[in-house]
């Protein structure tokens, strides 16, 4: 089955991972901008955004995977408000590049005032530039409170259409909040701190398969870039139809991404055009 991993930090992964993902049926990835494990300078961010929009799509292409990306300053580095504002000023330079889907992953980390300030400024940027938004919700004990705070801030900005926002890393206690507010949701299959394939399948069984997707959030931490195929396997084992599984791992991400100004996707079963075939 073809699938899309809608949240994976491929800059932290090796080319062999792209290759293994392709063999498992991955046809596209979307890569949000995130924390590198250390705090960067403004110029460090510029180089990172170039990597996301220039080299990473090329590297994905070597395995036949289409690469999309999101640009922002993450919640952790947003704690430094003056640095964050300089980065936000630079972001529009990258928004018209091919493959850029919107602003993300913005959000909260420790639910601080500074994080909330910069979150709102990036939501404002997305509203002014007509970009989709991908939102990181905090982990562990901060998740419920942080998700409520994020939903409060989105509700207060009347320019934001809920269906143009994806709330990521939802779990049993936050999925309903995000869905009832009209947003898209994603579940992250990540060892120990987030969701498992079985719990993600449970959440689908309880809340349905509309406006929801699953991702690996594979990054430089202990993570598994092949987590989406694990979810597919779990759903099959329980007797879910191929149509339902395909909706969650392929059609739903496409439906959300298609709202992006810049989205251009070539379905995997497209016949090659004559110019692409060559002579």
């Amino acid at each position: 089955m073809y699938y899309i991993d809608p949240h994976v930090h491929m800059v932290s992964r090796v080319t062999d991972d792209y290759e293994r993902m392709a063999r498992m049926g991955c046809v596209a990835v979307s890569e949000p901008a995130f924390w590198a494990g250390f705090d960067r300078s403004v110029e460090g961010f510029r180089d990172y955004f170039r990597q996301l929009t220039e080299f990473e799509p090329k590297r994905a292409g070597w395995s036949g995977i289409q690469h999309f990306t999101w640009i922002c300053i993450n919640a952790k580095e947003a704690e430094n408000v003056s640095l964050a504002r300089e980065v936000i000023q630079m972001i529009p330079e990258f928004l018209d590049r091919p493959g850029v889907l919107g602003i993300g992953e913005i959000g909260l980390n420790k639910n601080t005032r500074n994080e909330a300030t910069i979150f709102q400024e990036q939501v404002d940027l997305a509203a002014r530039t007509d970009e989709l938004i991908l939102i990181h919700t905090p982990h562990l004990q901060d998740k419920y409170k942080g998700t409520r705070m994020i939903l409060d801030m989105l509700r207060r900005d009347s320019r934001i259409a809920p269906e143009r926002v994806l709330i990521d890393h939802v779990e049993e206690h936050t999925v309903r909040l995000a869905k009832e507010a009209g947003h898209w949701c994603a579940m992250t299959l990540y060892p120990v701190t987030k969701c498992t394939p079985a719990r993600a399948a449970d959440i689908i069984e309880v809340y349905g398969d509309d406006r929801i997707m699953v991702n690996s959030a594979g990054d430089w931490g202990p993570s598994n870039p092949l987590a989406v195929p694990d979810f597919i396997q779990e759903m099959r084992r329980r007797g879910h139809s191929e149509a339902r599984i395909r909706k969650i791992v392929y059609e739903n991400p496409l439906e959300f991404f298609r709202q992006a100004r810049n989205f251009q996707f070539t379905p995997p079963d497209t016949e090659p055009t004559e110019s692409a075939v060559g002579v």
Binding site: D142, E171, R238
Partner: protein, 85 residues
Amino acid sequence: MTAQITPQPAADTLERTFLEIRAKLLELAADLDRIERGAGFEAVRDDERLQNIRKALQVLLEPGTDRAERVQMIFSDPYDPHWAD
């Protein structure tokens, strides 16, 4: 909200997961034993994390289909609707 979709009958799920559940319970029992036989257990007996673990175990004994959500809430910071004021 969308109607619930659970294709597997309860008996099938029980059959498939019984040994996993048993293994997880044993794992948990051994973890708690290890904490209790460690030096200085008295000092952590009422640690907030252990208290929350006990609350979560209580939830597992109650009937229902929302226990995962209730356990999540035990390990969650409270939300104040006036946080922005």
